[in-house]
């Protein structure tokens, strides 16, 4: 049986661009990936809490304002605080400033797929991240 993957999509802060999420949600479901999208205007604390409740293994952050570094820093902090940093991986997409990418990767945040990326590329990336996490755990 294929590995169960559950993604919580996190739209943290006040960014309103969520067309991409609308389209991705369908693609995730079609690929057999479970999705929870609690809507816009969330906080890092809320997203991590929802991920715990949903027993998710992926948090997918989306932002189009250029503030991904601030957002992801808080999410990763929160995961560490709750002792979930090894059971939930974080990916990020939308618009991620080039200069922030190395800093984000250092924190373990990957992906950075933007506008026009085929959903299959994003799904592959998520599967690989989960597989890598499993490999470390076993």
């Amino acid at each position: 049986m294929a590995r169960r993957i559950k993604v919580v999509i996190g739209k943290i802060g006040l960014d309103a661009h969520d067309r991409g999420i609308l389209l991705l949600q369908d693609a995730f479901k079609e690929a057999g990936i479970e999705v929870a999208y609690p809507g816009k205007f969330q906080t890092a604390e809320r997203i991590v809490r929802i991920a715990a409740e949903e027993e998710a293994n992926v948090i997918a952050l989306s932002d189009h304002t250029g503030a991904m570094l601030t957002i992801a820093t808080d999410v990763v902090e929160e995961l560490k605080k709750k002792g979930m940093a090894n059971s939930i991986c974080v990916v990020a997409g939308g618009i991620v400033p080039e200069e922030d990418k190395p800093l984000l990767e250092e924190m373990g945040v990957t992906g950075f797929y933007g506008q026009g990326t085929p959903a299959s590329v994003i799904i592959d990336h998520i599967r690989r991240r989960v597989a890598a996490m499993d490999a470390v755990a076993s």
Binding site: I12, A16, T65, A67, P97, Q115, G116
Partner: protein, 559 residues
């Protein structure tokens, strides 16, 4: 029947027979396609009903379109300086935007503001930031175009302008410009929470009523098609939703406040500009024709001016992909040209590297130069509506008008846009269109150079364009607003602010027009968060739209 041929891009064919919005077109148009079009009834000379060819007899020779480009950076000083230099290079309208927290009715120290501080514009949490942003710029008889689109954003785009003028002892009746006060579209595209529907609807009418009486040259209600279009709706939906929204707002004021539509300022409608060249041109021509009919049938327009609408065109950022962005300079020039051929009154291009950051100062100067090259070198505006009478242009104009009218009928049948919003029908229609558009893009049905065709690496020119985009400032710099607002609260006259907010609460509770008390509170540096919170309390909602903070100590008595 025309024989079906599989056209192939790689063999030099144009493999589509549809316009961008899916209108099927023939290879050529002839007189028989416009046999039903009557020149006097359907086209007419410019300045004559139904204004297909333009709203003024002389159009651009007498009055060029406004070059009203958004300038919005993280700090007020750089925004102010760029405004001044762009005005010196020919900017004729000042379009300003404040950051997402202030536009969402939140102060910089709100827990949710942290992630979006300084994104998309200056932190416009109180009058002081407007005073800095427009320092040294003339306020009377200059066009100020508020660029925010959320209910609190548009409200304070107006309130702070008036408050700033009054503090300087200027005549507010000389305020010119507009705000994108279009709450139905805000709920459709943003859904920020500061004003629930009932409250947003009331404030929308308050602004229109106050502005008609006190700032008669200002356009207090402009439906915004740009944002709708960017969510993926078709051009037909864009026009119909804009017209239907404007109709609802005007009806609210005519019925609820006893004003006559002939006394309103000329209706302005803001639209999105996309790539299909002729579809753009015809959509502006069709929009004027649709509005003329609606203004008379629905709003009782009798004055000539009331039957016309001003059209603003903002280039959709989504037409500027991240791949090979040097091409976006060409794309913008084409869209600007089509808008001008369509007879618009204001043009606002987007950034060449919008994906990477906000338009830089040189980006803006190049766009101003483009506008001047179109005018003075290419002499495009020399003759009014030069494409009028073209078989294709007249046919497509009529076809767009027909489809828009059909959708307007459907909206009417459903009880108007407020009802369509409430029932969820609008959301369904929008989502369907968005998914269809994305499918056309990913399947390659819509060709986008550099994205799904003719791909290639970014060369030095494209790299320079990317490098030049304005990057979001450091967290440290963006977070300065948190200290600023705390300092402001500690240094202003709290007693007087409290008295003003208490008055605002009282007026709001009595359901009277809240614009005057909002202006008075703003003049004493009440913050956006405090004013929004006070209005919410008076309408029976929690102080904080996101229920993350408590009512501040000095306002405790209100709740």
């Amino acid at each position: 029947m025309v024989e079906q041929v599989d056209y192939n891009r790689d063999l030099g064919h144009l493999p589509t027979d549809e316009t961008e919005s899916g209108i099927r077109v023939k290879v050529v148009y002839t007189p028989s396609d416009i046999a039903g079009v009557d020149y006097i009834r359907d086209i007419a000379n410019p300045g004559n009903e139904p204004f297909t060819r333009g709203i003024y007899p002389e159009m651009y020779r007498a009055r060029r379109w406004l070059d009203a480009f958004v300038i919005c950076y993280t700090n007020t000083k750089e925004t102010n300086e760029t405004f001044k230099r762009c005005v010196a290079s020919g900017l004729t309208g000042l379009r300003y935007v404040t950051d997402t927290p202030s536009a969402s009715g939140l102060d910089p120290d709100h827990p949710l503001a942290k992630y979006s501080l300084g994104t998309g514009g200056v932190s416009g949490y109180a009058l002081n930031s407007y005073e800095q942003m427009f320092d040294g710029l003339p306020l009377e008889n200059v066009d100020y175009e508020g660029g925010n689109v959320s209910p609190a954003g548009t409200t304070f785009n107006y309130i702070f302008l008036v408050a700033m003028m009054e503090r300087k002892g200027l005549d507010i009746s000389k305020l010119r410009g507009s705000i994108l006060n279009d709450p139905i579209h805000s709920f459709m595209v943003l859904n920020t929470r500061e004003f629930p529907v009932e409250l947003a609807r009331k404030i929308n009418a308050d602004i229109i009523e106050f502005s008609i009486i006190n700032t008669p040259k200002f356009h207090p209600e402009v439906p915004s098609g740009y944002d709708l279009r960017e969510t993926g709706v078709t051009m037909i939906q864009e026009l119909a939703f804009c017209v239907a929204n404007a109709t609802q707002y005007c009806q609210d004021v005519i019925e609820g406040r006893g004003l006559k539509f002939d006394d309103f300022p000329r209706q302005a409608i803001s639209t999105g500009g996309t790539m299909d060249f002729f579809e753009n041109i015809c959509k502006f021509r069709a929009l004027r024709r649709v509005w003329t009919r609606v203004a008379q049938e629905k709003l009782g327009a009798t004055a000539e001016r009331a039957k016309t609408c001003l059209i603003a065109m903002e280039v959709c950022a989504s037409i500027c992909p991240s791949q090979k962005p040097v091409n976006n300079i060409v794309r913008q020039a084409l869209v600007m040209l089509s808008a001008i051929l369509g007879g618009v009154q204001s043009v606002n291009p987007t950034g060449f590297a919008e994906y990477y950051g906000l338009p830089s100062e040189e980006n803006r100067i190049v766009e101003l130069d483009t506008s001047h090259i179109i005018t003075h070198e290419a002499r495009v505006p020399l003759v009014v509506d030069p494409l009028g009478g073209s078989y294709y242009v007249e046919w497509l104009t009529s076809e767009i008008e027909r489809q828009v009218n059909q959708l307007l009928k459907e909206i009417d049948k459903r009880g108007g846009m407020w009802k369509c919003l409430e029932s969820g029908w609008l959301q369904e229609e929008m989502d369907r269109a968005a998914i269809e558009k994305e499918r056309n893009r990913t399947t390659g049905k819509d060709t986008v150079v550099g994205v799904n065709a003719y791909q290639g690496p970014d060369g030095p020119l494209s790299k320079a364009v990317i490098e030049d985009a304005y990057r979001l400032r450091s967290t440290e710099e963006r977070f300065k607003a948190i200290e600023e607002v705390k300092r402001l609260r500690a240094t202003r006259n709290t007693k007087r602010v409290k008295a003003c907010l208490t008055e605002l609460y009282k007026v709001a509770k009595e359901r009277k027009n809240v614009i005057r008390p909002l202006i008075e509170a703003s003049k004493l540096y009440a913050t956006v968060g405090e004013m929004v919170g006070t209005l919410r309390l008076a309408h029976g909602y929690s102080y904080d739209p996101y229920e993350a903070i408590q009512v501040p100590e000095f306002l405790k008595e209100l709740s």
